[in-house]
Amino acid sequence: MSDNSKRITIPIGPQHPALKEPGCFTITLEGEKVVNAVVGVGYNHRGLEKACESRTYIQDLYIIERVCGICSHTHSTAFCQGVEELVGVEISPRAKFIRVIMAELERLHSHLLWLGVAAHEIGFDTLFMYSWRDRELVLDMLAMLGGNRVNYGINTLGGVRRDITPEMKELIHKTLNIVEEQNKYYIDLALHETTLAARLSGIGKLSHEDAIKYGAVGPVARASMVKDDIRVSEPYAAYDQIPVKVVTDDHCDVFGRAVVRVLEIMESISMIRFALDNMPDGDLAVKFPRKVPAGEVFSRTEAPRGEDTHYIRGNGTDKPDRVRVRAASEANWHGMQHMLEGDYLADVPIIIAAIDPCYSCTDRAFIVKDLDHGDQRVWDWQSLKRYSVDWYKKRGFDASKIKLAERRI
């Protein structure tokens, strides 16, 4: 019996009960062990980069917020600060602080959401319900500040749209106390509950070197001792005036990623408190021109899941020439195959969930340059046929060598 006959290939997805979004995983098993995993994404590709090119900058803001419903604020911040840099406008210090407060509240809600989803994947539904109940408190704060529970729409080109009043400030402080108290319980649970530690330790390994090699970002990288955080390495908005402590962990596995996230919730809470107390006075938004000069800009923010980058090219009109979004999940997918290999099939859901995957963030279009065949962006039928014939020739199937018996008519 050859090796291949012992292997089973299981397709999972795109509709599957584990995650809420469509993604297809082709997992090859040898017994219970994963020997190969292929990640298939692209079901959520909506073509929004192209849509941005046909709309004005202020309309694009609306689309960019809907790249992802979970980290919408970080996308709009990256886009806004990119366009502001192109125009050369400096926004007011108060607007910068409000952006930071929103971003950190978003991190709170995203990490609590992840904690629930991860707990659900390992069959710990009580924690799922607990953390989502506490997440509602954070959503209440976001709804109060932005006016909407999910896509807050607080950013505008040149500043922010809504102010934080003293009453709001007081209410946020009060609510944060409750969230902090609850989170202390989760930290205790994550660090000291032996069942949870035994379930999460040692699976989805990504060593320090591999994390750098595969270009992991955010909590996934920080759980492998990569001290990478855009808030520190390239402070944007008001992060240069707020003390940011980067949480890292040396477990290099799913357990480490959980620890990093629950500890980051605490850091976010103290950052929001600091920002609320030290918020300067000033205007909310400055006047912003309709037309943006020609030029290109690369803007980076730290999303809850890691580094989020936007590339914007202006051409002197009110519409951008090109917008490119690379969200954090896209960077983390590259290490996924490595993380899954060698683990058991039963660990697949939690390993996938541990990077906090977001398909709507990921699904942009790519053109992969094939260096062996020159830079062919569009293949016509003839070249595709030639490629297919050559590909099979290398594997010993040459149709031109097939000799047919002569036939007499």
Binding site: E21, N44, M129, V150
Partner: protein, 151 residues
């Protein structure tokens, strides 16, 4: 002809315990987390008998979010066809209702109703959990009325 005891019991079960399946046809995640939110303690839509299922073969209600992308279009059709009769479809969010801001994109075929028939539309970006619960109640009320009319 009026229904016998067994048929009445099936009707009652259908009304009191509709099982749902959630499918993301290309949403931004916003409506999806609100659908899950509706299942968690603050909104707790399970008190209406709703239970989330993993497979379409066990489900009565298909809860769909997002504008339908070309990649998911065939999958959505397959999932709809796999569901047993009678089946209902909820379109959650502006994108699911009409295609929303993604309508007209090269990779989007439109709202959910461009692929499968929809029974209830829930507008909103994102649709709030309260709106989702409201739609579920309206759907169940309509089901009860149609059952009574058939009886």
């Amino acid at each position: 002809m009026s229904k016998n005891f067994f048929e009445k019991a099936v009707d009652w079960g259908r009304r009191k315990s509709p099982w749902i399946i959630h499918f993301n046809a290309g949403a931004c995640n916003g409506c999806d987390i609100e659908v899950v939110d509706a299942l968690t303690p603050r909104f707790d839509v399970e008190r209406l008998g709703l239970l989330q299922q993993g497979t379409p073969r066990h489900a009565d209600v298909l809860v769909c979010t997002g504008a339908v992308t070309l990649q998911t279009r065939d999958r959505l059709k397959q999932i709809y066809e796999q569901m047993p009769e009678p089946k209902f479809v909820l379109a959650v969010g502006s994108c699911a209702c009409t295609g929303g801001i993604f309508d007209g994109c090269y990779c989007v075929s439109g709202g959910i109703d461009s692929v499968i028939p929809v029974d209830a539309y829930i507008p909103g970006c994102a649709a709030r959990p309260e709106a989702i619960i409201d739609a579920v109640v309206k759907l169940l009320t309509a089901l009860e009325q149609s059952q009574k009319a058939a009886d």
